[in-house]
């Protein structure tokens, strides 16, 4: 479980987050909605430990992020898959290498097992024959899918998505929305999605919050059944 407690963040005189608190329980996806520039990405990066809050705490299974030593933070991050808004794929690596980088770094798996896992991920994201391509050869939607595949590599229990459907055509948008729902329902992944896409948010979110003027407000609880 992730608990966000009274998080504040200012950039100069600009108040971005003003006492944000909410929880993400197991097998639940929390969606943070809000217009561009309201601090959704900042909040997600604070929860992931990439940005330090001015005050407030983040707890992962009861343990405060700000009290963890760097090694503990690295261990925690193996439990989180992060899908970046711009995909953040490594330009010099192929799709196969991008997905496999965390496996290469953190496991002692034999070559066959590595290949099997990467092949499995490529099939899940629907790009089974694109493993040799580099990011420059992919469309925006495909890059997003590879970003999702990379986040899945170590099979983390938490997935964080930063604007997963932004800038995509309707078909790719629904494909990614379905993938997120699949991860939640079939693979029991909990997570946080920040987006300004209300349509996707209603489909994937177990809970919806609106972030506006630094404050967060719960909109509604969307039952899983609604989508089904």
């Amino acid at each position: 479980m992730i608990r966000i407690h009274e998080v504040h963040k200012n950039f100069g005189n600009h108040i971005v987050l003003n006492g944000i608190s909410f929880e993400v329980t197991d097998n639940e996806i929390v969606v943070i909605l809000g217009p561009s520039g309201t601090g959704k990405t900042v909040l997600l990066k604070i929860i992931a430990g990439l940005i330090k809050p001015d005050s407030g705490s983040i707890f992962f299974d009861g343990k405060a992020l700000d009290q963890m030593v760097p090694d503990e933070i690295y261990e925690l991050r193996k439990q989180i898959g992060f899908v970046f808004q711009g995909s953040a794929l490594f330009d010099s690596l192929t799709v196969y290498e991008n997905i496999g980088i965390a496996i290469e770094e953190h496991t002692n798996w034999k070559r066959g097992k590595k290949q099997e896992r990467i092949k499995q991920i490529l099939e899940i994201i629907g790009l089974p024959n694109k493993h040799r391509l580099r990011p420059k050869d992919l469309s925006g939607g495909m890059m997003k899918l590879v970003g999702i595949g990379r986040a899945l590599a170590l099979d983390p229990p938490y997935l964080f998505y930063d604007e997963p459907t932004v800038g995509l055509d309707p078909i790719m948008k629904s494909r990614i929305t379905e993938l997120i729902i699949t991860f939640r329902d079939r693979y029991q992944k909990s997570g946080i999605v920040v987006t300004h896409d209300l349509e996707s948010a209603q489909l994937i979110g177990s809970k919806l919050y609106m972030l506006k003027s630094g404050k967060i407000q719960k909109i509604s609880t969307i039952a899983k059944e609604k989508y089904e």
């Binding site: 990066k45 690295y74 261990e75 991050r77 193996k78 808004q85 953040a88 965390a102 170590l154």
Partner: protein, 245 residues
């Protein structure tokens, strides 16, 4: 930023990048890639530079000496100037211009496109993944390039002296061989190691802290090259003051 805090930040960055646990299995290949990128990649430019440094050194030294001192002094002067100063310093200039800029551009682009954040989120330490291989690669490649420069520059000087300046080979050879001091060569190579550390750290440092999109990356590249050159000049002076007085 005051000069003192900038120096502190630079030193801390270097310490974080090199005093870090690493495994040969994970980092070895990336170090080798960097050795090839910096070493082999710089060879054509270094070769060109070395030939002209050799040519100019022979002509200028001869202009200042011939007629006032015995001809074998030309051999001594060429050897000392190239081994102590021109070899390490000019090679460092080439590597600073070529590799510090490339490092800052590559790492800076990774910073502004969130690729460094992505490394962090995959629990991969970016200091170990990005900086360590570049620093180690430069530490290995630069001294080898310096030896290559010195060899080519000395050959170029000898040929210029013999065929253009008509200095007898026996005189030249006497100066080169009989007055060769191993300490001159070693001193130049030690200097090259420090230059390597300064060049790679500048390239990685300014790339790592780049911000503000393409313009920010451009600024990082400029700062990396300018800082490398300033540090090379400054360290060269300190080194001369300490060891060659």
């Amino acid at each position: 930023m005051t000069l003192l805090s900038a120096v502190g930040q630079f030193g801390l960055f270097l310490a974080r990048s090199i005093f870090i646990p690493w495994k040969l299995r994970q980092t070895g290949k990336r170090v080798i890639d960097q050795i090839f990128e910096i070493g082999i990649g710089s060879l054509p430019m270094v070769l060109f530079m070395a030939i002209f440094v050799g040519l100019t050194t022979a002509i200028q030294t001869s202009y200042q000496m011939i007629g006032t001192v015995p001809k074998y002094f030309l051999g001594i002067a060429i050897s000392r100037m190239i081994l102590i100063e021109f070899g390490p310093v000019f090679t460092a200039f080439v590597v600073a211009g070529r590799s510090a800029s490339a490092m800052a551009a590559e790492i800076g682009t990774m910073r502004v496109t969130e690729q460094i954040d992505a490394l962090e989120m995959m629990a991969i330490n970016p200091y170990r993944y990005l900086n360590l291989p570049r620093i180690l690669g430069t530490l290995i490649a630069l001294p080898v390039l310096v030896v290559f420069t010195e060899l080519i520059a000395i050959i170029s000087s000898i040929l210029t002296s013999i065929y253009l300046l008509k200095v007898p080979f026996t005189d030249l050879n006497y100066g080169l061989i009989h007055h060769f001091r191993f300490n001159d060569l070693a001193g130049g190579l030690v200097k090259a190691l420090f230059f390597a550390l300064l060049i790679a750290t500048s390239g990685c440092f300014f790339g790592f802290y780049a911000s503000g999109g393409a313009k920010g990356v451009g600024k990082a590249v400029t700062r990396a090259v300018v800082t490398s050159l300033i540090l090379i000049f400054a360290f060269d002076f300190i080194n001369a003051l300490l060891f060659f007085r």
